[in-house]
Amino acid sequence: MEVPFRHIRNDFPILQEKVYGKELIYLDNAATTQKPKVVVEAIEQGYYKTNANIHRGVHYLSMRATEAHESARACVARFLNASDPAEIVFTRGTTEAINLVASSFGEAFCNEGDVILCSEMEHHSNIVPWQLLCQRKKLQLKVIPILDNGDLDRQALRAMLTSEVRLLAITHVSNVLGTINPVKEIIRLAHEHNIAVLIDGAQAVPHVKVDVLDLDADFYAFSGHKMYGPAGIGVLYGKRKWLDQMPPYQGGGEMIAQVHFSGSTWNELPYKFEAGTPDFIGSTALAKAIEYVEHLDMDAIARYETDLMHYATDALLQLGDVRIFGTSVHKSAVISFQLGNIHPFDVGTLLDRMGLALRTGHHCAQPLMDRFGIEGTIRASFAVYNVPEEVDVLITALKRIRTMF
């Protein structure tokens, strides 16, 4: 197969590392991706050259830091095709973004007896915040089932879009099954019933081009560290019409207009939702990561990763005793599988010793494991810097492991 991105491996110094004296083969990209030099350098330069608290100082450094942070916001807005940078809220990650919406949207728009919808393939981060909201406001969380191949059960979805539903929270790409949900269609259907939609984009943003305007998403959340950016910075896109009506999530500096003991007023968007000093170095580095993938071209990344995923799928299936979970035709660069009857933990432990980093276990999606009646899987997840030779090493390693039990 064609490997158009082989040269970029040099941009990622960690890929030259050895583990247990073996060449590192990193196939745990759905958990976090490695960082290109430009991102690490942006962090270093930020601290060395322009570190000062933002939005407050009249001094030179503070103005430079503020500029960098706000231009990062503009960069994210452009990347997601949001109409206004004020609709981009920086968070610690996807999880915090979802918690923000669950808390503030829930406070403003949900009342006892209302329903929140999610799907059976959600990450715990897109389940538990809604469970907490449901407990607090006496709402009901209903779960849209999935089909055996890992596709969302669209028929069930249609039936579940009722007038009691306030919000539908669903992942764009499943972190276990790799399923790419038809979110544009899902949002259109939900909007026919005046249901707001939050998309968990953590697994989508590094792999497919996202256009929030085209999707007409009400909220879209993603993490920096899963798309070549630093850990600790993430994004919530929210439509202004919602964000304006939602109360603040946390209180503190930055998010206020006026503070008096008689009462306080809130800052304008997006600052209303950014209490405390934001990770202004992380935001700048995230912008670098965005520029990096844009330079590689998102469509080209998606094409290559899909090719690589098919290459790996074929090779795994040739082993004969591999069961793959998630066989949707619309699938991103994630393969969850089991090898014969060998426990995923055993496979993962041995792969580790051979220098291969894969994730094993329930992948923070226990309800999905329940759905398939399994304890866990082994998961290979790819990034743009992975190459077919790494898949070959994985296959050889699995063949060896198979003989050990």
Binding site: Y20, F345, L350, H362, G376, R400, M404
Partner: protein, 139 residues
């Protein structure tokens, strides 16, 4: 044999193997030989819940010695348990509580001791010590 003698024996068995995969092969073989735990003990009260593998440990006390039986759903963890059972089963509560389990480090299983490692040895050893403490009070 004394606890420490058995530990030395285990260390010798593992140290003769140079390649890591051979050490794991030995651990797997030991795990596969561990007799299954009776179904009545594979219950939540005997379970040490981990993130990725499940371990059940059952202990019996005849007034003098503690007999340990255990099982896991993963073979490698079963191998680790089998070693623990070999070292610690058939001992008095005091012997267990005073044991210095140096073999774990010596054979390179220390990684499994980290508290974040799912179903780390730490929680298994803690559970065995807990049994020993309870039985000691009963003695």
């Amino acid at each position: 044999m004394e606890i420490n003698e058995i530990q030395e024996e285990i260390i010798e068995e593992f140290q003769s193997l140079e390649d890591w995969m051979d050490k794991y092969q030995l651990l797997i073989d030991i795990g596969n030989e561990l007799p299954p735990l009776e179904e009545q003990y594979k219950k939540p009260e005997y379970l040490i819940e981990g993130c990725q593998s499940r371990v059940w440990i059952h202990a019996q006390y005849d007034g003098q010695l503690i007999t340990l039986e255990a099982e896991s759903d993963t073979v490698i963890v079963k191998g680790i348990i089998a070693l623990l059972v070999r070292v610690l089963s058939g001992r008095t509560p005091d012997e267990i509580l005073n044991a210095n389990l140096f073999f774990i480090d010596a054979i390179g299983l220390k990684d499994h001791l980290s508290p974040t490692r799912s179903n780390g040895l730490v929680s298994m050893i803690r559970q065995i010590n807990q049994y020993a403490r309870v039985f000691k009070l009963r003695a």
